[in-house]
Subunit: 177 residues, 4 copies
């Protein structure tokens, strides 16, 4: 039985439609409902609902809290999947990469462009991929989404295309846009 | 084969999630995609995509346009279903009732609390009900939603409960709230 | 609050896919799970899981049991919806019509061509329609499916088209096929 | 852009419910419809609909045809995913492993316990996992299902549990059951 830590921080993947406000919001965590749609007979999932925020509203203190939570979990090492808003997922991932050394397992960040359970959502696809990638990837910090696994320091969000792409680098310069 | 006019005006039922803005909006009509999920072997549906507006943004001119469209259709009489935002659905219905006389078929207004295709949506239920109600109800203007058919002059939206309820009347006074 | 009796007898609408046998079977009743997808704020549904049979395997004793159950319920009159296999739904309906007199509410039979929850299923559509039709139709025995309400003595299943159609009659002769 | 060969052979994952026979059958390929639900912006999928058979009905000639098709594709090497009935998936996989040498990419076999699009189906999960595993796994023949990746010579189906499990070996003996 494979143990795996799942840390939920919110983001689009967990947004719900509020009938009262007529808008999509991070209200309650709904990710567990979607895990129940997956068959995971050999996975022991230990879920932490850390926060439920749009990642544009995450502060440095929030990111530190993610880091501390991961650090705490890794005292008893196992792969980690973090669900996160896509807008600042890379920032959080880079913080983890800078701060954590000697990783024995991968840390996978994922999220969604459209909330879980909305028509056309990529949420369940990304969860499914991340739970498998966390078993197959080598140690390190990764972003897994849309059938791709990116090392965290080589990826950026392309808002126009609603996807993540390889970050271009020229002569060692990080052309982050 | 039963003919039926479907007039789409927008409202929550047709809202979509925009990945660019992260909000729900009335962008393109999507109702036809959902009709294709229904089996309607004896129904000849003639759909008019009149406008695509949140009903709180509908003006009196918009409502007049709905009325004129219905009047135009009824030159060749058949039942009518109008999809509409729930917030001012009753206003539009009352205008139709005041303005149209000698109806030979029912005019049914419907909508949804959560957009079609979002988890927990009531949209397809309400469409299904309205298409049947338009065949079974007597002439008049009706609001059909959540397994209920209300005469338009006896109904109001209860925002707290996210449903429509019978409007209370005391001694002939219309206690509209 | 409208009371309504729901009597489940099985049929395709309640079939499930058995992973052990690789076939579709009437095992456990699943209709309640689908009712929970509908918003029925003004409906008090009293469900009886009477049997769970393919209607080709229903015996005359089974049909009598349906009749007796309806008779028992109608001591406290309210509309009735019966979910039933489509192959012999008309036979059961005709038995009810012959046997019950002085009906105060409609009795609606419905079912599905494809089981609830299978891609392309008509099950939830037919349930939705039947629950509304039971509130709108005059007393009598009806078959409600695919946006149509048929008097039970004027309908037959067209297996080729996977739908129900008006039974043709010529000069009083019942051309039942 | 990652190229990937998808070879569809049928099996439960592609079964459909036939309204005419009331049974589930391998009629037409439906896998493409489900691929369109996935976001695969960096994947160039080349699909071959080779056959559409229940894997209990696959003959040795059928398995040879699968082998020849893979051999043909690998002239221009890329990862391969084969959708297949679960009952004899391991046999086909072992044939591929014995017959193909010098693999540069993984060959992934997958399938489902319940057909794509039926309530509770594991089909889309397994497709999603396989398309990612084909990018992440080392060369070799693999079976990917239910969040697990098994080397083909170490796995067997457990029919009771409706899952695949590690094949037990004692003192070098292959206790294949």
């Amino acid at each position: 039985m494979q143990r795996l830590y799942l840390i939920a921080t919110g983001g689009t993947i967990e947004k719900v439609y509020s009938e009262r406000s007529g808008s999509v919001e991070n209200l309650d965590s709904k990710i567990d409902r979607y895990f129940r749609m997956l068959r995971l007979p050999d996975l022991q999932l230990e879920t932490t609902h850390l926060m439920n925020k749009d990642s544009l509203e995450m502060t440095e203190a929030d990111r530190q809290q993610v880091l501390e939570t991961v650090r705490e979990k890794l005292k008893d090492p196992a792969p980690v999947v973090i669900t996160h808003g896509t807008d600042t997922m890379v920032e959080t991932g880079l913080l983890l990469q800078r701060s954590l050394t000697g990783l024995k397992y991968p840390i996978v960040l994922t999220g969604a462009m459209t909330p879980l359970g909305f028509e056309g959502s990529d949420g369940l696809q990304n969860l499914t991929e991340s739970l498998l990638a966390a078993r197959l990837l080598p140690p390190g910090v990764w972003l897994v989404i849309h059938n791709q696994a990116f090392p965290i320091d080589g990826v950026r969000k392309d808002r126009e295309l609603a996807r993540f792409v390889q970050r271009k680098t020229t002569q060692g310069t990080d052309e982050r846009r």
